[in-house]
Amino acid sequence: MSLPAFDALAVGDVVAERTTRLTRDSLVRYAGASGDFNSIHYRDDIAASVGLPGVLAHGMLTMGLAVQPVVDWVGDAGRVADYQVRFTRPIVVDPVDGAQVSVTAKVGALDAAAEAARIDLTVTYNGDTVLGKAQVRVLLGAK
């Protein structure tokens, strides 16, 4: 994979799009990998007992998967210099159908001096955005 040319980018360009299907299996896998064993992410009875509409995806799983289309676009996982999100809406993961999470990554700002781009992510589930101010700063200059 080759590095995108900084000079060819313009604010507003869509650089990556992806839809990921989360299932309950994805949540169990993330729980094990991350060490976050909060049971609202795999037990319906516990989720219901604290007033949730169902088992929720870990916010950090959503954050983690949302940046992957950008990582693949730059072709180098080490070029992410900064990544921030606000968690605005939970993702309910149905035991049978799971949940479809869609990511669109767009150039939000360009920093010519640093050859860095701010990529803004729009992350939706069921037509609603689930992350606010989701921004990734990627370095596109020579290393």
Binding site: S34, V71, G78, Y83, F87, K143
Partner: protein, 147 residues
């Protein structure tokens, strides 16, 4: 929540050794497909010593500092009411398998908004030489009593 948490000194966490298989396991769990996250040969070709951790892997190390915060006896933070508000990672360089990271917690803000309160916790992770690797910043919202 106790506003005196701001500026309190916390001990650094014991060093966390980043394992190659842990990085690969985490990478698969966040749907990473970049070979540099998964294949040591691809990572070396790109100039890294070993597989590169996905950006959000830093949360695994940060978690140890958040546990310190929640365990503070006079902190007044009820874990069952905590909701994750914001998260940020700022890197000096990516985390690579083989790294040994030490995290230092600082509470930078405590705010009250009606019945809810918010705490901002910053975890600074360094390598054994003391060089900065990444800072993870979390804002946690603690829900107050529903009335």
């Amino acid at each position: 929540m106790n506003p005196e948490l701001v500026g309190r000194a916390f001990p650094p966490t014991s060093p966390y050794l980043v394992g190659r298989e842990k990085v690969r396991e985490f990478a698969r769990a966040v749907f990473a497909t970049n070979p540099i996250n998964l294949d040591p040969a691809a990572a070396r070709e790109a100039g890294y010593a070993d597989v590169v951790a996905p950006p959000t892997f830093a949360v695994v190390v940060q978690e140890h500092t958040l546990a310190q915060l929640l365990a503070e006896p006079d902190g007044g933070i009820d874990f069952t009411r905590v909701v994750h508000g914001d998260q940020r990672f700022t890197f000096s360089r990516p985390i690579v398998a083989g790294d040994e990271l030490t995290a230092q917690l600082a509470v930078t803000a405590v705010k009250t908004l009606g019945a809810h309160s918010m705490v901002t916790a910053e975890s600074t992770m360094t390598d054994p030489s003391g060089a900065h690797v990444v800072t993870a910043i979390s804002t946690l919202v603690v829900r107050g009593d529903e009335s």
